[in-house]
């Protein structure tokens, strides 16, 4: 902050500040140390993990061996978990993005009975602790025969109140009413306006919502833990926690090295997706700002 304050700003092209960069770099270290720790320790064998210091490499370099073991342990269940997670993300987060986009747009651009109530209900329901709703949801789903199926994870993931909110405020500004009126005068129906005019205008917002819902679904832990009883439907998070828990009690089979390597492998696809989507997302954002 201090660095920001000391120099005057020229709006068009401010000078780069080393002080600011150095201060931010400190924060970067804080962000990266745990991740570095993970990378380092995912490269250790189980015995070396138990005998070497956390922030230095020690023992044989076993990262690739660990990765191979992670994918083959217990008949390659990790691979199955990865597939499940992808399924939940594509269907769950994809569906959530579509639903939130349509609803957010509807709330922003149409005036209809119950509009205010929708917002109040959504915000109110979000405030109720989801972990405690797990039991009622579980009992309901089990009456519907949905528990221990992929649907029991996917259906609750379809709702993203934050996504709804984001699209709502985004659509309010990004879609000029004139544009919609013009389309109506041309004889376009509401759905056609949505698909031909709106979606393109909302693209940056949609990508952002897709990113957030994707991360949320990928990281979803509690609900699948309650809903699923068979490891063959687990997503990565629940599976990893089970691997971690199997170090407990009689017949313990600690595989901390695989827990760590599995954790690392769980993060990587998200990081790649984020880097990849960022291009769209970044251009989308600047496009959004130009439009003002």
């Amino acid at each position: 902050m201090a660095a920001v304050a000391t120099k005057t700003l020229s709006v068009t092209r401010p000078r780069k500040s080393r002080t600011l960069t150095a201060v931010m770099a400190l924060y970067l270290v804080y962000t990266l140390v745990p991740l570095a720790w993970l990378v380092i320790n995912a490269s250790k064998t189980q015995p070396a993990l138990f005998s070497t210091s956390g922030l230095s490499f020690g023992g044989p370099f076993a990262l690739f061996d660990n990765i191979a073991q992670t994918f083959t342990y217990n008949d390659g269940i990790f691979f199955r978990w990865l597939g499940n997670t992808l399924l939940y993300v594509v269907v769950g987060a994809g569906g959530a993005t579509i639903l939130a986009t349509a609803a957010g747009y509807g709330l922003a651009k149409y005036r209809f009975p119950g509009r205010r109530a929708v917002f109040a209900i959504v915000l109110g329901a979000v405030a109720v602790p989801t972990t405690a709703l797990a039991v009622p949801t579980f009992l309901m789903f089990s009456k519907l025969g949905l528990t221990n199926t992929p649907l029991s994870v996917i259906i609750p993931s379809l709702i993203s109140p934050f996504g709804l909110y984001l699209i709502w405020v985004y659509a309010a500004d990004a879609i000029p009413d004139e544009l919609m009126e013009a389309a109506r005068i041309d004889g376009a129906g509401e759905l056609r306006i949505f698909f031909t005019v709106t979606l393109r205008q909302l693209a940056p917002g949609i990508v952002t919502v897709a990113l957030f819902t994707m991360v949320q679904t990928w990281n979803n832990y509690f609900l699948p833990l309650i809903m699923l009883s068979e490891p063959k439907w687990y997503p990565l998070t629940v599976g990893l926690n089970q691997w971690s828990a199997q170090a407990n009690g009689a017949g313990a089979q600690p595989i901390f090295n695989l827990v760590l390597t599995g954790s690392l492998l769980t993060i990587i696809p998200l990081v790649i997706a984020f880097l990849f989507m960022q291009r769209f997302w970044q251009s989308g954002l600047s496009a959004g700002s130009v439009k003002q």
Binding site: G106, A127, P129, E190, S263, F274
Partner: protein, 309 residues
């Protein structure tokens, strides 16, 4: 709030009024209905079910279900365990949320300032922890916190003390706060950053002509412009704090004596259900927490949008 000052995240209750509104009719439901349908199934129905549960009392082993009216509510309001856990998340909220949001705001302003070397790199890396599942983040920090073999032990060794005990009784809430901060600064930074990104350049030009310094531009142009984003980030952080669960629950495996079964209200509700089979009482705790959270979120939102700048 005008549409130029507020994008993309104005206060929730006031979506920008359009110039010409189509006539009030039911067409909007075409778009909202699918969402509300799933929402009804996954949110409203369980809430209603939880409410029904909260009016009954059921014994896990003997006897049947008895209608008890508001008895469960009276019991929750007089339950010292509930209030202890509530007080804990309140302290957590009062300390952790401001720190996290301030860090996120500073990071967003710095990245947006165009004065940072490699700003894009900073933005990605700071966001990275958000991509780490809470389960993984907590397992990881749990290893690091170990004062026997973890990084904390190395640090103590380095400093020649044994003062660093992240998992001890006095440190633990701070340690959990650290994990949560680490996870969510990037997320909030991104919300602020995307709001900053769409401030119209004319506003800066006007400020530059007035000869305003960086700090003044931040104070009088940028912060007011993203107030909506700050309010919504605050609301979501408050809700998140009140629902604190994953981090303490996973860390409980390391220090069960410090993190009891009612460390946070959400953990209390969870353990009532899953360890004690006290589903009715658990549902009551959940609803009471939900009402408190909703009220506080509403107040913050009202204050946030009223405070004119």
């Amino acid at each position: 709030m005008t549409s130029t000052a507020a994008p993309p995240v104005p206060a929730p209750a006031r979506p920008a009024p359009p110039v010409r509104r189509p006539r009030r009719n039911w067409r909007g439901w075409l778009f909202v209905a699918p969402f509300m349908l799933v929402f009804a199934l996954t949110f409203i129905a369980p809430v209603v079910y939880a409410f029904v549960l909260s009016l009954f009392r059921d014994q896990a082993f003997f006897g049947g279900t008895v209608f008890v009216g508001a008895d469960n509510y009276a019991q929750v309001l007089a339950d010292p365990k509930f209030w202890e856990s509530f007080q804990r998340v309140l302290v957590f909220l009062a300390v952790q949320v401001p720190i996290m949001l301030l860090l996120a705001l500073v990071a967003a302003l710095a990245i947006d300032s165009a004065r940072l070397h490699a700003a894009g790199f900073f933005r990605i890396v700071i966001f990275l922890p958000y991509a780490v599942p809470a389960v993984v983040a907590t397992l990881m920090w749990g290893f690091i916190y170990g004062d026997h073999f973890g990084l904390a032990a190395d640090l103590n060794h380095l400093l020649g003390t044994d003062a660093v005990k992240p998992l001890s009784q006095n440190w633990l809430l701070t340690s959990i706060g650290n994990v949560v901060t680490w996870e969510f600064v990037g997320y909030n930074m991104l919300i602020f950053y995307s709001a900053l990104k769409v401030i119209p350049t004319e506003l800066f030009e006007a400020a530059a002509i007035d000869g305003a310094g960086t700090f003044r531009v931040i104070r009088s142009v940028k912060l007011p412009a993203i107030r909506g984003a700050i309010v919504i980030a605050t609301i979501f952080s408050i809700i998140g704090s009140f629902q604190l669960f994953n981090e303490p629950n996973i860390m409980r495996n390391l220090v069960p004596n410090v993190i009891g079964t009612f460390y946070t209200p959400n953990m209390y509700a969870y353990n009532l259900s899953f360890a004690g089979q006290q589903y009715n009482y658990s549902a009551t705790v959940a609803i009471v927490m939900g009402v408190i959270t909703a009220i506080i979120a509403y107040v913050v939102q009202l204050r946030g949008s009223r405070k004119g700048m």
